[in-house]
């Protein structure tokens, strides 16, 4: 394994960041590295590893009920942007050695990964738009049952429930993951008793509506796959060999680190947000001696665990707010299916409570969705800018 080339015996966490640097320094002199090392350079590289580690330790310290929440995902993206910025500074400060082999190849490799991540950013943006469409359906539910459109105290009647139920069915179908949408669609349609007014008109409507739920299409072709894209980002992402570390005066390390951060962040985004052909089967084998490896591996495991939970298995995104959205709307749908008219006070109270819950989820989503979209776009722009700067300096 290449990782053993430079690694001493497994040291305690606190020493991990340093483990390869002193070793390298000793060897640099004896082997006469083509690029002269300086103490400030070493300090810079070391501090980069440490800062990446600090950020991910912070992200990993999240309690389980906030993992994959919108604020957490936004924090994750922030962390990525910060890492990327520090990485950029390192490349800038070392712009001469960066142009020489094997650094030029390593940077080109990273840039290739980063360009592949751009497609993930675009897919995530589509996913955010998808969530917005669900929000619209929820707004209809809230409009029907929330009664905030008129200030008069009115009891809820069958009409409002029918309206809400229709929107809830649309929502449930829209939220199905693409993979199982085919059969489940028909099934859910039936179970919700959607087309019970049997006129010839409704047959036509039925046919149309199936198309409508899926009509918000992705901006990429049908064959595009987030899972495959993630594989491509992680393709050949290998710990630099000892001689590479030596030949690059340690610069190979931040490149590897940044590649790993990129892969993980993109993976986590795909896990959280709906996108075409999500798949989380990417293998992470980050060597533990990197100070950031432990928190990232722990987050990876936790997210993977989350995806295996029974009620999340078929989710179209692991985002906590999506889960709540799905749960609240399902409960409300079940309640709406069971109510008898006229509504008794107790039921009405229950409905109001469920509607309130849904409203809270929806409000929280609304608040963070736009900033999230902006951030994802920012990731896109930064990746492009860094790459452009890299190309310009060649």
């Amino acid at each position: 394994m290449p990782s053993t080339d430079y690694q001493g015996s497994s040291s305690p966490l606190t020493n991990l960041g340093r483990s390869f640097l002193p070793l390298r320094r000793d060897q640099v002199h004896s082997m006469e590295s083509p690029i002269g090392g300086s103490p400030s350079n070493e300090a810079e590289l070391e501090s980069f590893q440490r800062q990446v580690a600090d950020r991910f330790h912070d992200l990993a310290s999240v309690p389980s009920d906030e993992l994959l929440s919108l604020p957490w995902v936004r924090k994750l993206i922030d962390a990525f942007l910060c890492c990327q910025e520090e990485f950029r500074v390192i490349l800038f400060n070392n712009r001469t050695p960066v142009k020489k082999p094997p650094m030029d190849r390593l940077i080109a490799d990273y840039n290739e990964r980063a360009v592949k991540a751009l497609d993930v950013c675009n897919a995530i943006r589509d996913g955010i738009e998808q969530i917005r469409q669900w929000q619209k359906l929820i707004e209809i539910v809230l409009c029907a049952l929330g009664g905030d459109n008129n200030s008069y105290q009115r009891s809820l009647g069958e009409g409002q429930f029918r309206r809400a139920r229709k929107a809830l069915v649309d929502l449930a179908i829209a939220m199905l993951d693409e993979k199982d949408s085919g059969q489940a669609l028909a099934h859910r349609n039936r179970s919700f008793g959607r087309h019970n007014n049997s006129s010839s008109h409704s047959k036509d409507h039925h046919h149309r509506s199936l198309g409508h739920f899926r009509s918000l299409s992705w901006s990429v072709s049908r064959s595009w796959s987030a899972a495959r894209q993630l594989q491509a980002i992680g393709n050949n992402l290998a710990v630099p060999r000892g001689n590479e570390v030596l030949a690059t005066n340690g610069l190979a390390m931040p490149v590897y680190t940044m590649g790993s951060v990129l892969l993980f962040v993109m993976w986590a985004l795909v896990a959280a947000i709906p996108c075409q052909d999500r798949g989380l089967q990417v293998h992470f084998n980050f060597p533990r001696q990197f100070p950031w490896a432990a928190p990232i591996i722990s987050l990876h495991e936790r997210i993977l665990e989350e995806s295996k939970k029974r009620d999340r298995k078929n989710a179209c995104g692991l985002l906590r707010e999506i889960y709540q959205m799905e749960k609240c709307s399902r409960l409300l749908g079940e309640l709406a299916d069971s109510v008898q008219f006229p509504l008794n006070e107790e039921k009405e109270k229950e409905v109001k409570q469920r509607v309130n819950e849904l409203k809270q989820v929806s409000d929280a989503m609304k608040e963070d969705l736009e900033p999230l979209e902006k951030q994802v776009r920012e990731v896109f722009h930064r990746i492009v800018r860094n790459r452009t700067e890299g190309l310009d300096s060649l």
């Binding site: 943006r125 009409g159 006129s199 009509s215 060649l394």
Partner: protein, 638 residues
């Protein structure tokens, strides 16, 4: 109905009294005021049922009204054919809905009264049924609209706009701007590619647009605006996406664009340019107009719906342009990237006008970002060109000192690039302001002339490096002269002339002349030296011997030079001629002079004809064979 109206009035008055009056006395006072105001508010009528607050009589009116509305509305809701198939049906249905909306609005303030509340629940129920039906009608009108438009298009107002030049060779344009496509079951009307963008299409006949507007009005009034907007956006989005895919544009990821062979990508760019123009100039403005007409009076709903309709297609268009901007910087791509840049630039006014509302502003800003990025990409391509020139290795010498392929490539490339001079000037000027440079050189190369001069400089120093591969310094000069001459010629008959300026051309013409001089010097000075006459007063015997030696030396040297240099190349005919003349002028007088003397030396006598191998005409003829690039391996490959 008059009775009904009066009941409502009374109910409202009672309600006001009850709400405002904090106690019975106050309520009584308020009622008194009402009764003084108008005969209809007699105390007798007003006080009726005041006490129990159940208002059976008022409620009975409401009940009766609802009953009648229920009968009308249910009858339409149950219809198994489209209500909008008959205008009498549709207007009666809309009237009933209006009445229902009015009734609910009027009675809502009294919803707290139990019996009124119960009636209103029924009204809501009825409203919901009416709205579901109306939503379906809205959807099928949107779908069917295109069909009826196809049949009745002659009556259609926009037909007048669909004029194309009669010499338009694409007949399909005239026939089917709106085209229902082959897939009849799909029912999505589609726009065909056009060449004249100055048109607006109406995807729906104006009768249908009016119907849709009438429905939208009711749905918004009844609080079902969101549903209406949802149905609308979904239908139109399908139309747009289908239209764009009919324009031949695929959905491609950045990765796919990067991996696509350049030739395929060139075709894709061509299609993109068409699609972007049709979308921004025809489809989007038409959608905007349609949306504004259907949601007339509800600007927020119109803006939101419009954004929903266009967002996906716009993102698709922008993503492709973005992928091109991010793609390879290979110099061959310049011209197509320029096309994409220019398309974006020229469409900016359209982006501004069509995406000016609050919801679409994001799209417009994205378009600007991507447009700027295309500018960066173009600058990047020039940087790549610089790198290629700088790093082009001197592999094998061009035979005969002819034109090097890099000279030909760079000059023709720059000439072609200069055809887009205005665009490039825009691009290079912008780099001054926008791009924070990591490299000092870039700051100075901001304007296009500086950029061009810089590339010429790189080319020249690369050529100088390449010239060192020749062992013969005369050939080295020929190589530099040839390439220099070519450069100047290409500059002079293109935009480069004005970009580089007269000074530059003068300077480079002088350089070419200098190379000529260098050539003559290193090639002919030595030979010329052999023809130098000795004026010293040597013995005639010695003179004869020296002259004999000299002519022999001349003969062999001249032979050698001619043999070698006939395979050299001067690609430019005029220059070749000039050089021959100048060599002749240099050589012939000295030669004539020399052989004249030689013939006068008595010691040589009869041997003179053997010694003088060439007459002056022979010399000239041999000189005229120089630089022909003989041996078939000329460097002046065209």
């Amino acid at each position: 109905m008059a009775d009904n109206g009066e009941e409502k009035l009374l109910a409202v008055a009672r309600h006001i009294a009850k709400t405002l009056g904090q106690n019975d006395t106050m309520a009584d006072d308020i009622l008194q005021i009402f009764s003084n105001f108008d005969g209809r508010f007699s105390r007798e009528k007003l006080s009726e049922n005041m006490v129990d607050g159940n208002n059976p009589r008022g409620c009975a009116v409401l009940d009766r009204a609802l009953h009648s509305l229920d009968r009308q509305i249910s009858q339409y809701v149950a219809l198994d054919h489209p209500i909008w198939a008959h205008s009498a049906d549709s207007s009666a249905f809309l009237d009933a809905i209006d009445e229902l909306i009015r009734t609910i609005r009027d009675w809502s303030p009294m919803a707290a009264e139990k019996s009124v509340g119960a009636c209103l629940a029924r009204a809501d129920d009825l409203m919901q049924q009416a709205m579901f039906r109306v939503e379906d009608e809205f959807r099928s009108l949107m779908d069917r609209g295109a069909d009826s438009f196809e049949l009745g298009r002659n009556n259609h107002e926009s037909t007048g706009n669909l004029s194309f030049d009669s010499d338009d060779d694409n007949e399909e344009n005239e026939e089917g701007l709106l085209h229902n496509g082959a897939a009849l079951d799909h029912q999505i009307p589609v726009a065909q590619p056009v060449t004249d963008y100055d048109i607006v299409i109406d995807a729906l006949p104006s009768g249908t647009i009016n119907d849709l507007h009438e429905i939208a009005k009711r749905m918004v009034a009844a609080g079902f605006g969101k549903e209406c907007s949802h149905v609308y956006s979904t239908c139109r989005r399908e139309f747009l996406e289908e239209s764009i895919s009919r324009l031949g544009l695929q959905k491609l990821s950045i990765d796919e664009v990067q991996k696509m062979p350049w030739q395929e990508l060139e075709d894709e760019i061509e299609r993109w340019i068409k699609a972007a123009n049709v979308s921004l100039r025809i489809l989007f403005p038409s959608e905007r107009r349609l949306c504004d007409r259907i949601f007339f009076g509800f600007s927020s709903a119109a803006d939101l719906s419009f954004m929903e309709v266009c967002r996906g297609s716009t993102i698709q268009l922008l993503n492709f342009a973005d992928a091109i901007a991010i793609g390879s910087r290979s110099p061959e791509r310049l011209f197509k990237v320029l096309d994409v840049f220019e398309t974006m630039r020229d469409l900016m006014p359209e982006f501004d006008s069509v995406f000016s509302d609050q919801y679409c502003l994001v799209l417009r800003n994205e378009a600007i970002t991507i447009w700027k990025r295309l500018g960066e990409a173009i600058r990047g391509i020039f940087m790549e060109l610089e790198n290629l020139i700088r790093r082009d290795p001197a592999k094998a010498a061009v035979p005969g000192g002819g034109l090097h392929p890099i000279t030909r490539y760079v000059m023709n490339y720059l000439r072609a690039a200069c055809r887009s001079r205005q665009t490039l000037e825009q691009v290079f000027d912008e780099s001054n302001v926008v791009v924070p440079s990591l490299d000092d050189r870039r700051v100075s190369s901001s304007s296009m002339s500086v950029q061009m001069a810089w590339i010429m400089e790189l080319l020249e120093s690369n050529l100088e490096m390449k010239s060192r591969i020749y062992r013969d310094s005369a050939l080295c000069s020929i190589f530099m002269m040839n390439n220099g001459r070519y450069i100047v010629q290409k500059v002079k008959d293109s935009e480069l002339e004005s970009l580089l300026g007269d000074d530059w051309i003068r300077k480079h013409n002088a350089k070419v002349r200098q190379y000529c001089t260098n050539y003559q010097r290193s090639s002919w000075n030595k030979i010329l030296g052999t023809l130098k006459l000795d004026n010293s007063s040597l013995a005639s015997n010695a003179i004869a011997k020296s002259m004999k030696e000299k002519i022999k030396s001349f003969n062999s040297q001249f032979d050698d030079v001619c043999k070698t240099q006939s395979s050299w190349v001067v690609f430019d005919e005029q220059l070749r001629e000039e050089m021959r003349i100048s060599v002749s002028r240099l050589l012939l007088p000295a030669y004539r002079n020399f052989i004249g003397r030689l013939q006068c030396i008595p010691e040589i006598g009869r041997n003179v004809d053997r010694l003088i191998r060439y007459g002056p005409e022979d010399i000239e003829a041999r000189i005229n064979e120089l630089f022909e690039g003989g041996n078939g391996s000329s460097g002046g490959r065209k």
